[in-house]
Every structure is written in C-alpha cells, then in structure tokens.
Subunit: 345 residues, 2 copies
C-alpha cells in the first residue's frame, strides 16, 4: 500500500470533532501508511487528541481555522462565503497537491459545488455525480449513482454515469465487465422518461459496457446488477428509502418493545440463540449495517472526494476515510479518463 | 353496509382465475352485501367454482369473454385492440352503472388508459393518479401518491394529488386534517425540482390542507405524514424500493439459511420463542405484509377502480376487492369533488 495524505474537514457533520477526531485516530491505527491534514478549530480538536499516543499524533497535522461553511442561507450564499472554512481549505489542499483526497461530513451541495470549482470535473465528464455502494442479499455489493447531485439528467449524462459506475465497480469491487442497469419504473422498453430510454440505447450499443436492462426499485438489493444508474432525484429517494426501511425493520425486530425486567434475561438469551441459529441471516443483516456503507463519493472529478453522512458515527466516518484511501490507491479518476477514451473508439 | 356490485376482471395478473376466483369467493364469504360480475373465460372460471356452495355462487355472474388485453405490443396497441377484453368489459360495466367499481390485476397503464377514456376524470382533476397505503412503524398507515401514472408532474398536479390524498386519508383512515408532505431529496425549502417547490407554496397557502413540509425517503415508514405526495416516477421507485427492502430483510431473517435436519427442530422452537417474546415487533412486521397493502387505486376518476398487483396471491386479491368496496361506500370520488370546491373558495 502506498503512502497517502488525506485532507479531512473535521468540522462537518451533526456532531463535528467529537466524531471525526476519534474516527481519524482509528483510521491511522488501521492503516499505517496514512497521514492526515485536519482542517478545523484547534481549540475543539486538541483536547480530543490529548490521550492519543505520539506515534499516531505525529501523523496528524492540524490546520487551524475557526470558520465553518454556513448552509443556513442556501448554497449560493454558502459558496460565496466559503473562504477560509474547514471544508474549502481541505479541498484547496487537494487542489494544491498537499493531500490526495478530501473527506467531509459537511453539506453535500457545498462539497460538490466547491469541488467542481476547485478540483474541476474530469475532461469529458459533463456532470460529476454522487456514488455509493449498497449491500445485496447474496452478500455482494452494488454500486449506485447518481444519488442527488444532478436532479434532471439527459441521456448523455446517464450514459456517463454508467461508465463511471462501471469503472468504480471494477476497481472497488474487483469485478470484470460489471452488469449495468438503469433504474426505472418497469422493465419494458417503453417505460420511463425519454432520457432513460435514450440512455438505454446509448449504453446498449456500447460494447465496453455490460448493459442488462432496466431495474425496478424492488430489486435493488437482489444483486441483479453491479451498477445501478439513475438521475439524482430518483437515486436519492431510492437510497434513502432503502436506508430508512432497513433501519426501521431491524429496529422493529430488535425491539422497541418495552418488557418487564423479568423477561429481559430471557429475551437476551433468545436473542443470542437467534444469532447463533440464524447465523447466516444475521451476518447478512449485519453486512447491511449502514455504517459500512457510509461514504458516498463524488465521482467524475480530478481528485477523490468522499462525503460522509452528516449523522455518521465515528465508525462510519472511519469507513469513509478508508474508502477515500482505497479510491486514491485504485486511481479511480484516471481510470475514468481511460474509460472515456475507450467509449470514443 | 350497503349492497354493492363490483366488476372483476378475473383474467388479469400473472396467474389469472386460479388466484382471482378463490379470492372472489373469499370476499363473498366475508362481505354478505357484495355481488360480483366476473369478466373472463367461463371455461377457465367454471371448474374453479365447482365446489363453491350455491348461496355464494348465486352472488356471482360470469360474463364470458375469451379475450384478454394484450400488452406485448405496447400500450397504444393494447388500448386500440381492447374491445371485448375482460378488462375493458369490466370497466364498461361500471360506465353503464351495472357495477359500482372495477378491480383488475391486469396491466396498470392499460387499466388507467381505459378508465380515463371510459370513466373520465372527475371534473376539475387534470391527472388521475395511483394511490396506495404503506404501513408505518408505529402501527399506523400512510397514504402515498402518485405511484406511477404520471411521470412528470407540474406544481398544480402535485397540488391536486395532495387534495386527493387528503380526502382518501380522511375517509379510508378516519383521520381529521391529515398531515400532507411532499417527497423530496431534502427538507430545506430550496431542495428539489422547481415544480415541487412551487407545489409546496400552493399547498402551504391552502388552509384546507394540513401541510407539514418535505419528507425524505428514509422517513417514509416513520408515520411523520399521513399523505405523501410525489410525481409518479419517484413515487413508484420509492414504493417498490420499500417493498423490496421489506421482503428481502424479512426473508434474510426467516432464513434462506440451509441447516442440517437436526437443528431444524431447535430452529422452529427458537422461532416460536422469538415470536412470543418479540410479539409487538413481530406483529408490526406482520402488519407490513405486502398482501395487506395490495390494491393501488386509481384516484381522480368518476368511479372507483382498484389495481391489484400482478403477482398478488388470492389473499391479496381479496384485500383489493375489499378495498374497492370500502372506497365505494366511502364515496371517495364525490368527496374529492367536494374537496375541489373547498379549495376554490
């Protein structure tokens, strides 16, 4: 594994440094080749590093800024007043080559907006997108994009998403000729928006892409495709619906129930028995833990940028960091450029 | 309860009469005030009625037709060649006043297309929609529309959906001043399509509607709204994603696991213990059984039309029939007209 420096906006997210700092320390422990530039308020950061051993602290460099991006007045205002904020400084450090990737749990639109301006879309990519992985019931993973960066998408945009998704799936999931599907409201050719039907034609004709047709919402978790392509509106709704459903159903089972104390021992016993006997099922459910699927990535830019959930736990933020490192090591932006060249041929 | 005659297209769906006929017989047993006109191939229908007691059979009238709607060549072809098909005859019987509502498990687009032409949209309604209920984790139900009838929707369309959804929720769920939310990719005012933001303004200004703001995909099951309004594309994707997630997660837990025979007794024992101890959670999960939520309805027409899932079981088709009967008894179309009048004031 290669040495990497990542720029972390540690102020973003609902909780900020109290989540992102422990997460950063875990990531350093897990990956000895990582170093971090931490962008944020040193008064908040330093106390959280007090008990961290020196050999880890040496791999962190705090870049103090008291300023944070302000989303309360809309994205235009946020971008216009972004100078000196932790998010912008983190992205600028990637722009200058001081870091190889940026991770933030801050506002998605601001992160995308600043990244597009400062890091620029890859040559030939019209619309960078948000990409993430979802777990499947057969224990595999499926890549999904766009998840909210682009509401309305032309056929050409969807076609480019298909390419970016395929490159991502090949590199990050180690797949050969990943199966690409378009999210739609039916599988018949006549279904859906005109842009989706035209995108289907473009993707189908392109032998570099392994197109398998339309996919409906009820098959997202079934492993029928390795890459699911969608406009940002439907993709965002679908992903969040999945997350909400998984969370709610699991919490229903785990028991928001209130029981008298005397049954609680019994309940624990049964829980543990269930876990043992239904091991495979439980394992798969655990694999569906949203923490493991934190870290939507901005794809189609010249550098790697990973967006963590605003509500991410420390564990989840650590996964986002690891995800960013893996994308840099897999050289995703460059592979997309090569992929674009292939499409032209 | 009032006497009702329903027109059933018994040929629709993946299986046809072998599902729809037993379902119809169950519905007759459960509701003594119902009679049915059954549209379909009598050669297939009659053998399935052989063992049905006379007092039930007397409430069925078979309207023989060998013809079924053909969707293989697209919706335009299907509509043009629909004369004499079981679906069209069923709708025509409602048009003539021989039946008060129609139920079919056939093709949704064909059912909507024929219903619009033969039954006509309610005066003032620009776009009839597909509406359904989803269960919530707190044991309640939420109404959702549009689920796929209208891909692109203007603010005015969404506004009318909000009204129709509110009338539906009031009557079918017995709610006063139901909370209306718009499905969007964020809860901030600036999020989403222009049409959604404009619809938010229209609904918010209208005091007859209890608008609560935008709702994201991850909160669909949380009972935060009684009516969730969406364009047909996103609504269809969201509903199917919910269905798929619920089905997959429950089946993961119930054990697609393969176990040696000796553990199966133990497994059954634990299963039954779990059901006992986690009773409330299990009950709620059972309430989420998609069978109970079969029957998307076409709303905004002069008569009640219910679309059952193509893959519906006999149980599920029975629920669709009961749903249609309830909508007629609740006089939903007329209540929507009254609601439209109120909005104008």
């Amino acid at each position: 594994m290669s040495r990497l420096t990542l720029a972390l906006d540690v102020m973003g997210g609902d909780i900020g440094p109290r989540v992102t700092i422990p997460a950063s320390v875990s990531a350093l422990e897990q990956d000895p080749m990582l170093t971090f530039l931490l962008f944020g308020d040193s008064e908040q950061i330093e106390p959280l590093l007090a008990d961290v051993p020196t050999h880890l602290k040496d791999r962190l460099l705090i870049q103090h800024t008291p300023r944070q991006i302000d989303n309360n007045q809309g994205i235009v205002y946020a971008l216009r007043h972004s100078k000196g904020t932790s998010m912008r400084l983190a992205i600028e450090s990637v722009q200058k080559g001081e870091a190889q990737a940026c991770v933030s749990a801050g506002n998605t639109a601001a992160l995308m907006g600043l990244s597009k301006v400062l890091l620029q879309p890859l040559k030939g990519i019209e619309r960078p997108a948000l990409i993430s992985m979802i777990p499947t019931v057969n224990g595999e993973r499926t890549v999904m994009l766009d998840l909210g960066a682009n509401l309305e998408c032309s056929a050409e945009h969807l076609y480019q998403f298909a390419l970016m998704g395929a490159v991502f799936a090949e590199s990050m999931l180690g797949l050969v000729y990943p199966r690409v599907a378009l999210l739609n409201i039916g599988i018949e050719e006549v279904k859906g928006y005109k842009s989706i039907r035209e995108a289907a034609n473009l993707i189908e004709k392109q032998t570099a892409l392994n197109y398998t047709g339309f996919i409906e919402g009820n098959f997202l978790l079934n492993g029928k495709a390795d890459v699911i392509v969608s406009d940002g509106f439907a993709g965002n709704i679908a992903l969040k619906t999945l997350e909400g459903a998984a969370k709610n159903i699991v919490s229903l089972l785990k028991g928001s129930d209130v029981y008298p104390a005397r049954t609680s021992v019994m309940k624990r016993l049964v829980s543990s028995l269930v876990k043992r006997l239904f091991k495979q099922g439980y394992q798969r459910l655990t694999n569906m833990n949203p923490e493991l699927y934190n870290g939507a990535s901005l794809i189609g830019l010249n550098s790697v940028v990973v967006k963590s959930h605003g509500a991410a736990s420390a564990n989840a933020f650590t996964y986002a960091i690891r995800d960013a490192a893996l994308q840099v090591r897999q050289d995703i932006p460059n592979k997309i450029l090569i992929g674009l060249e292939k499409l032209k041929r």
